[in-house]
Amino acid sequence: MPKMTMVDALNTALHQEMEQDDSVMVLGEDVGVDGGVFRVTEGLLDAFGEKRVIDTPLAEAGIVGTSIGMAIFGLRPVCEIQFSGFSYLAFHQLEAHAARMRWRSRGAYTVPMVLRTPYSGGVRALEHHSESREAYWAHTPGLKMVIPSTPRNARALLISAIRDPDPVIFYEPKAVYRAFREEVPEEEETWPIGKAQVVREGEHLTMISYGAMMRPTLEAADKLAQEDDVEAEVIDVLTIAPLDHHTFAESAKKTGRVVIIHEAPRSFGPGAEIVARLIESSFWYLEAPIRRVTGYDVVIPLFAYEKAYLPSAGRVLAAARETLESPA
């Protein structure tokens, strides 16, 4: 079992899917000759040629709109937006067309495309390179929204996304890209879109997170076990939309206490929807208010203060302890 970074794992998934299915196309800015600014598409041009691995002009709506046309034809475009902070230039193409073509044509035309884009802070980047605004897409009926957290689930989810018959926005946590390696089995794996994963079992507290925030979350869970004798159940959301609220509910009903962690701004963020679903499903089981540990409602600062902005294991731990202290 080779140990891979998330970049390697994503690259492997692309190679494999392009190999198996000649309708899979890759397009975007600098994805060809340069192999993508994070090298996720490295080697694809050599392997599959410039008809399938397309360096496009610098135009995000152009990339997405062209992908929509290709997908309607029956291809499976996997387009890259260089940073999620630039995906809003294509917002209307996603909202008005990718998300609606199946609906509008009553199933006659479909848009099986994937939009890959790096999100998340913590890599000392320039303005617009560190945002987490997955809630925009999650609030858009017709789109699916996926965020992996490790090399292994990144590969599995990207394969599932490419094979999915509907448009999938695929956020890649760039802080995880090369942060660590994980064993990824040789044989193909997929992970169902729409399914969360319980990655740590526990009975005292439920922690719900995803993407780059899984690391501080798991770190906090370990600390709780070591220092507080508390076993936290940790859920990796994986698919932001459609949200797997049954898995959340099951856990919340068991533990009665929930903390949600994400780096997106708090207000109107993904955490709010998770709270609302839990209230709908599990209100009578809750023993403490659900807490959100999130980015603040400000523009994520340039890198000098990024650490203070991003939820840390310490912040998660503090929120977990407060939640545990609430009277039962």
């Binding site: 002009p57 929509i68 309607i72 199946r102 199933g107 035309y109 699916k144």
Partner: protein, 373 residues
């Protein structure tokens, strides 16, 4: 060298074949279209005209909702699609009733869609029959040409020789997406035909205030491919321009932009009152260039059509339209209680939370269809 003029290999050509009375201006340019096809074109143009008028009445009576009349632009649309194959793709905006009728869309499907039923997009023979190559209406102005570029890229990738035509208005040329589509098409030399229906107005904004360029056709020069103007009320000229563009595209020579100079004789949509922003004299002037009598005059000169043929066709068409309305209204009644269909076709498979919402609506509507429709 100090001050020199850069050599640019461009010019914009204007093409017309019929004068306002339907006389051929230059016989060398007259396309060879078989008589039966010419007559079919006439028949469809007449149908589009009468259907437009009838839809306007229905809208005024509250029997359908808002739509965008096509009156005056029939030649500009039909000349294009008449020059294409069935296997070519059409990517319309929201005013292409004439082109869509030619490409096989049924009257009922329009009536249902403008009656507020998305099932209008489901009927057989409508804009999206099995294997259809007409995309549905795109309301957000200027956003659909990119889909045409993606489709045509895919066609080329698959080694096919179909082409893709996309329609948009003069106003649409101001949108950023138009620019990105033109640029992608130029870079990838896709088999795309960009057809601008320059009907002189974008709601209340006249062509002259939409952009400061002399022509819209010249915008193609910014992307390194040919742009041309054509008299859009002259179906023969439009046909010839489309044929030439399609040939270029099929033989791998890339995209073309065609600016059809035409006029919206009616209101922008049924929600619009054009008297607020344009003079009746202007409309009157363009009425004299109406593409329908002009095409009829041409066919008469060629002895293909007589007044009594027209009368006969008119009568037939009125019947056809009435049947369609009757059919559509019956269908609308049948469909009136199918609200639960709003959950269909959001995704290939309905996710659990949507199923739960659907069940909730079903309960509310007091119906039983909750679980496995």
């Amino acid at each position: 060298m100090p001050r020199e003029v850069v050599d640019l290999p461009y010019q914009v050509e204007y093409l017309s074949i019929l004068d306002e009375d339907g006389h051929v201006l230059d016989e060398d340019l007259e396309p060879e279209i078989p008589e039966d096809r010419l007559l079919r074109l006439h028949r469809t143009m007449l149908l589009a005209r009468r259907f437009d008028e009838r839809m306007l009445h229905l809208q005024r009576q509250g029997r359908i909702g808002t739509f965008a009349p096509v009156r005056g632009q029939e030649a500009a649309q039909m000349g294009i699609v008449a020059a294409l194959r069935e296997s070519d793709w059409m990517v319309p905006s929201f005013r292409e009733q004439a082109a869509s009728l030619w490409r096989g869309q049924s009257l009922e499907s329009f009536l249902l869609a403008y009656g507020g039923f998305y099932q209008g997009n489901e009927l057989p023979g409508n804009q999206m029959p099995e294997g259809s190559r007409n995309l549905p209406v795109a309301v957000p102005v200027g956003t659909q040409p990119l889909h045409a570029v993606g489709l045509s890229y895919a066609i080329q990738y698959r080694g096919q020789d179909d082409v893709v035509v996309t329609f948009f208005g003069d106003g649409a040329t101001s949108e950023g997406d138009f620019h990105e589509a033109m640029n992608f098409a130029g870079v990838f030399q896709t088999p795309t035909i960009f057809v601008c229906q320059n009907n002189q107005w974008a709601i209340s904004v006249p062509r002259s205030r939409q952009t400061n360029s002399e022509t819209l056709a010249q915008k193609a020069l910014a992307y390194g491919f040919p742009g041309r103007q054509v008299d859009g009320n002259d179906i023969l000229a439009v046909y010839v321009a489309a044929e030439e563009a399609a040939e270029r595209a099929r033989s791998g020579d890339g995209p073309t932009m065609i600016e059809c100079i035409t006029y919206r004789l009616s209101m922008h949509t049924t929600a619009d009152d054009p008297s607020r922003y344009r003079e009746e004299e202007e409309v009157e002037e363009w009425r004299r260039r109406d593409p329908l009598p002009r095409f009829q005059a041409y066919l008469k000169q060629r002895d293909m059509l007589s007044d009594s043929d027209i009368e006969e066709a008119e009568e037939e068409i009125l019947g056809e339209i009435q049947d369609a309305i009757d059919g559509a209204e019956e269908r609308m009644e049948e469909l009136a209680n199918e609200e639960l269909s709003m959950f269909d076709h959001m995704y290939a498979e309905m996710p659990p939370y949507l199923r739960e919402q659907r069940d909730q609506l079903a309960r509310e509507l007091g119906r039983k269809e909750g679980n496995d429709a």
